[in-house]
Symmetry: C2
């Protein structure tokens, strides 16, 4: 397992937290995703041979949030 | 149909808007509910012989928001 921290703009509430964590959790290869609302950040545990950071970014953006790259 | 405007604290995003509108829409006697996020307010059309403002307030609070009374 690898861990990465992705900066995300626009997450404001518990629903946003659930939307982002849920979208990441559906990706094959993602172990745990945890949003820190006050830090505008999501911490993700993943298997780098199964899923890329780019795929995670896309999953977040598909929920309507901006990833800070 | 009557119309009332309810002040609500804590609605921040589209998910919050959907949660509040959805909860009100499920009440029998509520016609249309529309959240204005920037005004922290929800406008509700309802039949006053079928549903009370108190019931609407409770439905909003059940979603985790504070009604300003």
């Amino acid at each position: 397992m690898n861990t990465t921290s992705i900066k995300v703009e626009g997450m404001t509430c518990g629903h946003c937290k659930s939307a982002v964590e849920g979208a990441l959790g559906k990706l094959s290869g993602v172990g745990k995703a945890e949003v820190d609302l006050s830090a505008n950040e999501v911490s993700v545990e993943y298997e780098e041979d199964k899923v890329t950071v780019e795929e995670m970014n896309e999953a977040i953006e598909d929920q309507g949030y901006d990833v800070v790259k």
